[in-house]
Symmetry: C2
Subunit: 275 residues, 2 copies
């Protein structure tokens, strides 16, 4: 079975459209502020995609573009201004920022109630403890796909490959809170295949094209590929994995579109909570 | 090899004694405030033990005892007062609190710079991201024991049994940050033995006497027993586990004493940072 992210995404957006309409009745228009620092073309594309997705749903998108020489202090000031702007419901700082900026400090300057992208330190722990309003969007998307297709999590052995603060770490906590037994592998794991071979659920969050091989996949496993490498290539060697998996997300059209829908969902919910 | 917690603890305290003396030269006496709500005898014993350990090292211990009918609001007010008291460097709220109290709210009222027991939501995430000043004391003790005996963590497969917010979850993040591949099992894991059997490092944080059986342990594995059940019984069936493990912590005299030393260490460090 192919886990169709566009289909999951459509279902989420249909529901959001009703919520946006209800907010309009109250005179509230959800607004996501996006901050792009520098001129990395891939980052610019992501920000544009997110802005367009907002527009199509009637969510306002406020674009802030800062020069690549921006200092941490300047960026923090911009974030503080957005925190204090009651017309802004969500703030997204496009990752990565130029190297002179303290990215963690910038993320943590975002007010928790506007952290719709789930990047703050506090939000991470709230998610790990199971009470975050806005978990990181890609982990939330992975769970949404599993739930949409009614694929069980409880009691399963999930193997997460990757341990980044906005993907591998939070998704492992979310799967753990849903009663999976969770193994986290990473760049220093000696034989990743030894672990993946035993997994009922594989989450690929490595950032290396075609890293997960088809022969590593246990027959019948569920494979979620959160990788998105140059040339629209995922972290899983798709054809090989698809042969053995019972269900798999394609790249593109899998985790990616649902991630954007989660950002929209969180923005609408932040607007609802602000009323 | 028996991993002697008293030995590790002594080494830590010897170093702390020098730090306390240096602080005294500057006119600063480290002070830990302990809060005990209600009259649970086990909790009262723990608080007394911690107070005595402070005293022996020249750390002041300020004991606050509240009636078992205390409300969340009243407890939060007490914590706020301690946050604002510059003579107090660390705050310990003895767990568990009576059921009418919102324990998470109480923990999170503790100012991050006085959270020497590592119980706040924010502190959890800082620890997960590798930059906490004060990780939870039992996880910190487990790492200190491994380091004291120079037992390697990197590249090892660590299996943590338990997922509590102050033990299983943070210790798994700390092992992960030290480049172990980490599996987290819990009450909903179907065959815990299947996972423990493959572990190079086993951390028992279940709270069930003799839960981990000797025959589950891979020959040569390192076993850390953070359990402390009625009658001085750990979570591991000691004799059986000791036969197969290359190194094991006894109960009592293993993780327990080092946990208290970590609390003292964090309190002294908080005093140092306040100067």
């Amino acid at each position: 079975m192919i886990l169709d992210g566009n289909d999951v995404s459509k279902r989420i957006k249909d529901k959001l459209a009703l919520q946006v309409a209800a907010l309009e009745q109250k005179g509230v228009r959800p607004c996501l502020a996006t901050i792009l620092v520098g001129d990395d073309p891939a980052s610019a594309t992501y920000v544009r995609m997110k802005g367009n997705a907002c527009k199509r749903l009637g969510i306002e998108s406020k674009k802030i573009e800062l020069p690549k020489e921006t200092t941490t202090k300047e960026l923090l000031a911009v974030i503080r201004e957005l925190n204090n702007d009651s017309s802004v419901h969500g703030i997204l700082l496009q990752h990565p920022v130029p190297s002179q900026i303290d990215e963690r400090a910038a993320f943590d300057e975002i007010a928790i109630e506007k952290d719709v992208d789930g990047v703050t330190t506090l939000g991470f722990a709230q998610n790990a403890f199971g009470f975050a309003h806005y978990p990181s969007c890609t982990p939330a998307a992975i769970l949404a796909i599993l739930d949409h297709y009614q694929l069980p999590i409880e009691g399963k052995h999930a193997v997460v490959v990757g341990r980044s603060p906005i993907l591998g770490k939070p998704v492992s906590q979310m799967l753990l809170n849903r009663n999976a037994t969770v193994t986290i592998c990473h760049s220093r794991t000696e034989n990743v295949s030894d672990f993946v071979e035993k997994a009922d659920i594989v989450v690929a969050a490595v950032g290396k094209p075609n890293f997960i091989q088809g022969e590593w996949i246990k027959s019948g496993a569920v494979v979620l590929d959160a990788g998105y490498n140059k040339g629209n290539i995922g972290d899983c060697e798709y054809d090989g994995c698809a042969q053995r998996a019972s269900a798999i997300t394609p790249v593109p059209g899998g985790v990616g579109p649902v991630t954007i829908s989660m950002l929209l969902k969180h923005t609408v919910e932040a607007a609802e909570r602000s009323v």
